[in-house]
Amino acid sequence: MRNSLYKKNIISINDLKRDELELVLKKSAILKKKSAPDLLKNKIIASCFFEASTRTRLSFETAIYRLGASIIGFSDGNNISLSKKGETLADTISVISSYVDAIIIRHPQEGSARLAAEFSNNVPIFNAGDGSNQHPTQTLLDLFTIQETQNRLNNLNIAMVGDLKYGRTVHSLTQALAKYKKNKFFFISPDVLTMPNYINNMLLERGISYRRCQHIEEVISEIDILYMTRVQKERLESTEYANAKSKFILSTKSLKNARSNLKILHPLPRIDEIDHDVDYTPYAWYFKQAANGIYARQAILSLVLIENHF
C-alpha cells in the first residue's frame, strides 16, 4: 500500500481521504498488537503546547516514547520565554522546525496549526487541537475504537449526546463517518446546543439521514455507538442546565434496552454526564477508547515520518 501520508501535515480530519483514514486504522491495529520501539529511533519530535492539555500531551508523548523517538518542547505556552518575549507563532515554529523532525502543536486559536504548517519549512505539523476547530488525532482514535468494537465503519447507527454546538469532537467524527456508507445519526442535545447547520447541511447534501431526538431512551434500542459529551455549565442558564442535566445524563437505567454490541464512548474528561455505575457495564468503552489514543497517535506519527513500513 502506498503511504500517501508520508511528510503530510495532519491539521484537519477533512484533509484526510478515506483510504488515508484506512491506512491509519490498519497501522493502529498493527501497533496495538506489536509494539515497535525502533520505528522512530533517532527522530526528535517537538511537543509545543501553547495551552495546557495534559491528557492529549501525555498521550502524544507516550506514543512518541513507544516508537523510540525523543521529545523536546513545553507544556504551557504562558510560562515560556517565547510568549513572554512576544515572539510570533510563525517565528517560534520557524525556529523549532530547524531542530526537529516533526512538531506537535496545541494552541488556543483556531487556524494556528494551519499557520504553523506555512512556517515549518516542510517539517510535518500535527494538530493537537486548535481552539474550537480541529483535533484530528482524537477523531482517528474514535474511528479506530468504533471499527475495533463494531468491525466496520459503515452501516452504523450513532447517537451523539450533549453539547453538539461547540463540541469539536462530534463535528469531526460526524464529518469522518460521513465518508462511509449507510451510517445513521441521532443528535441529542439541549435546544441551544444543537448540531451546527454546516454539519446538518453536509449530511443532507450527501443524502445521509440524521434525526434530532429528545432522550437517550428513545433511541437506545437502535444504536451501535453512543457518543457522550459534556455540557458545560457556562453554556446554559441555570434552569436550563438543571433540566439538561436530568435529560442528558447517562445512567444504567437508560441502558435497559441496549443492543448487545452497543459501546459508549466519551472524549473525556467526564464530569457527571455518565453515572459511575455505567463504568461496570459491558457497554462502557471510554477508558479503552482513551487507551487507543496511544496506538492511533503512534500510527499517524510513524506514517508521516517513515515512507515504507508495510
Binding site: 484537519s12 477533512n14 510570533t88 507563532l89 510563525a90 494552541h107 488556543p108 486559536q109 483556531e110 487556524g111 494556528s112 494551519r114 499557520l115 486548535d130 481552539g131 474550537s132 476547530n133 480541529q134 454546516y198 447534501e205
Partner: protein, 152 residues
C-alpha cells in the same frame, strides 16, 4: 478612443476601474490598499451612469492591476470594468469574474481566528451553496460564513 474625459480627468497611462456601484469606491480604495502607492490616483464619486444610475470610478496612473486583483474586485462590485489605458488610448477592457479564493483583503469574522495576528494574510475560498448562495470559508479556522457577513 477616449473615455470619461469630461467626468474625471483622463489619464495618460494606467488602469481605470469603472462602473463601481456608488458608495463602494472608497471601500475599494482602502481594501485593495490602492492608497498605499505613490501613484497618482483620481477618483470620482456618485457620477451619473446609464447602467447603475450612480457610479464611482477610480483611475490609477502607471499601474496595471493583476488578473487576481481584478477578479477580487468582483466580490464588491460584480459589474465593474477595468480599462487599461496607454497614451490616452483604451488598450484593454477586462470584466472581473468571481475568483475561487480571495487573499489578504477580507477579515475573518471569527474573533479567535489566528489570521488576526500580525503578519498573517487572511485567505478565503468561495463555497457554492444550494439556491445560488455563496459562502466564504476561512483557510485558517475552517469556519464558513455567508458572503454578507464577511463583506460587511
Amino acid at each position: 478612443m477616449q473615455i470619461n474625459k469630461l467626468q474625471v480627468e483622463a489619464i495618460k497611462c494606467g488602469s481605470v476601474i469603472d462602473h463601481i456601484p456608488s458608495q463602494i469606491g472608497f471601500k475599494l480604495l482602502s481594501l485593495f490598499r490602492f492608497t498605499e502607492t505613490e501613484k497618482r490616483i483620481t477618483i470620482g464619486l456618485n457620477l451619473p451612469s446609464k447602467k447603475l444610475g450612480k457610479k464611482d470610478i477610480i483611475k490609477i496612473e502607471n499601474t496595471f492591476l493583476s488578473g487576481d486583483q481584478i477578479n477580487q474586485l468582483a466580490i464588491y462590485s460584480p459589474c465593474a470594468t477595468v480599462n487599461y489605458i496607454d497614451e490616452y488610448n483604451l488598450v484593454g477592457k477586462i470584466f472581473p469574474t468571481l475568483p475561487r479564493k480571495i487573499d489578504r483583503i477580507l477579515i475573518c469574522p471569527n474573533g479567535n481566528c489566528i489570521s488576526h495576528n500580525n503578519c498573517i494574510n487572511s485567505s478565503f475560498i468561495f463555497i457554492k451553496k444550494p439556491n445560488n448562495n455563496m459562502n466564504l470559508k476561512c483557510k485558517y479556522c475552517e469556519k464558513e460564513f455567508s458572503k454578507n457577513i464577511v463583506l460587511s
